[in-house]
């Protein structure tokens, strides 16, 4: 016999049988189905347990007689709640506090949705920004008079001059690169257009200075690609 099976689900009427009929009172069909899973002793054991527990509970119900008089604290609580509700009727906006959690969830979701929409709109604006005709900004800056080092010893003057030359060269080279790298996010065609404009500016400034363009491998590369 297998009492370990979940018999109330396997034999749907078993609970009812245990309550109403002893093993000897079972008819043939009931007996057949019960005997598949339980022996007579097991059936009687379950039945006795069920009956004793129910008897016990019934006698407990008779013996325990709680007071059915309403506690004044409960009436007080009801009246306090009444006052709170009056406040809510005066300020209907506060009713949102009465809403169960889903209302808050809806509000949160809507807020999140709007934030996302606004964020994407801002991104779109950035994307559709027109390419400026000229991206150079000329500003007049007053050069503050500084110590030119005329009075310093000749060795120091020579060192300063070399350092300035190096810095200028480096600046010229890095300037173009940096401009290219610092281009804002935009589509490839716009990026290429910008690169072309930047390179043209660079070539013009080289020519103005009377320098040889072939000395700059980046510009040579650009000219070859452009042609």
């Amino acid at each position: 016999m297998s009492m370990n099976h979940d018999l109330f689900n396997i034999l749907p009427g078993l609970e009812n049988l245990l309550r109403k009929k002893s093993f000897v009172e079972l008819d043939q069909t009931e007996l057949d189905s019960v005997l598949q899973y339980l022996s007579e002793d097991e059936y009687e054991e379950l039945r006795t347990t069920l009956h004793t527990v129910e008897d016990c509970f019934r006698s407990e119900e008779k013996s325990i007689k709680p007071s059915i008089r309403l506690n004044p604290a409960l009436t007080g609580a009801l009246l306090t709640k009444d006052k709170k509700n009056n406040l809510l009727s005066q300020y209907p906006v506060l009713n949102i506090l009465k809403k169960p959690i889903p209302a808050y969830q809806v509000v949160l979701l809507m807020t999140l949705f709007f934030i996302i929409v606004i964020f994407y709109r801002m991104e779109d604006k950035n994307f559709n920004q027109p390419v400026p005709v000229a991206d150079n900004k000329f500003e007049e800056e007053k050069i503050v008079e500084t110590d030119t080092g005329e009075n310093s010893p000749p060795e120091a003057q020579h060192l300063t001059a070399t350092a300035q030359k190096k810095s200028k060269k480096r600046h010229n080279y890095i300037g173009l690169k940096e401009k290219e790298n610092n281009l804002p996010d935009m589509n490839i065609i716009e990026k290429e257009n910008r690169k072309m404009v930047l390179n043209n500016i660079e070539i013009t400034s080289f020519q103005k200075k009377g320098k040889n363009i072939s000395a700059e491998p980046n510009l040579i590369k650009f000219l070859v690609t452009a042609n």
Binding site: F8, L46, V53, D55, F57, E61, P66
Partner: protein, 173 residues
């Protein structure tokens, strides 16, 4: 319940008169025969009814809703007890007034029963007490415990099986 929602005092009184004895017994059994604790919890339950009156769906069975609140209260209390690790067994405070001998038998059986129930987990115990203590239908219990009817049946069967192995007093008698 609609009247409670409309803050009518006499409606609360009527509900209390109808349901407080049942709820008192339910709590008393859930807390292994601790009658005083049962009384306190019944009071708290009705406070909850007042507080949450606006959440009650008038199309729903009030008794089922009340038992759901009560079961949740017990669940929370058991969680707290587990934290406190309070294993003290409450004294039997039921005041049986019937046949004295029968009372002694039943009291000892009661004690055995509550000791056995203390070893069963919350879900099995609640299903068992709602079915055989409060005499609710399987469907109602499934609704209160928020689980399928099959699960309730299974819990009932295994609890009875466990108790029949555990309770020896009635076998001797």
């Amino acid at each position: 319940m609609t009247l409670i929602q409309a803050k009518k005092e006499h409606a609360l009184e009527e509900l209390y008169k109808r349901y407080s004895p049942k709820m008192n017994l339910y709590f008393c059994r859930m807390f292994y025969g601790d009658y005083e604790k049962g009384k306190d919890f019944t009071h708290d339950l009705f406070l909850k009814v007042i507080e949450k009156a606006s959440y009650f769906n008038t199309g729903m069975n009030f008794s089922t809703w009340l038992y759901t609140l009560a079961s949740n209260m017990c669940k929370n209390e058991f969680k707290k007890e587990r934290i406190r690790n309070d294993t003290s067994f409450p004294s039997q405070s039921s005041n049986f007034q019937e046949d004295y001998e029968r009372q002694i038998d039943m009291q000892s059986f009661n004690e055995e029963l509550y000791i056995a129930l203390k070893e069963i987990d919350y879900e099995h115990k609640t299903a068992f007490l709602l079915r055989y203590g409060s005499e609710l239908s399987i469907k109602e219990i499934a609704c209160i415990l928020d689980c399928p009817e099959g699960t309730v049946k299974s819990r009932l069967y295994y609890t009875i099986k466990y108790l029949s192995k555990k309770l020896t007093i009635y076998k001797q008698s």
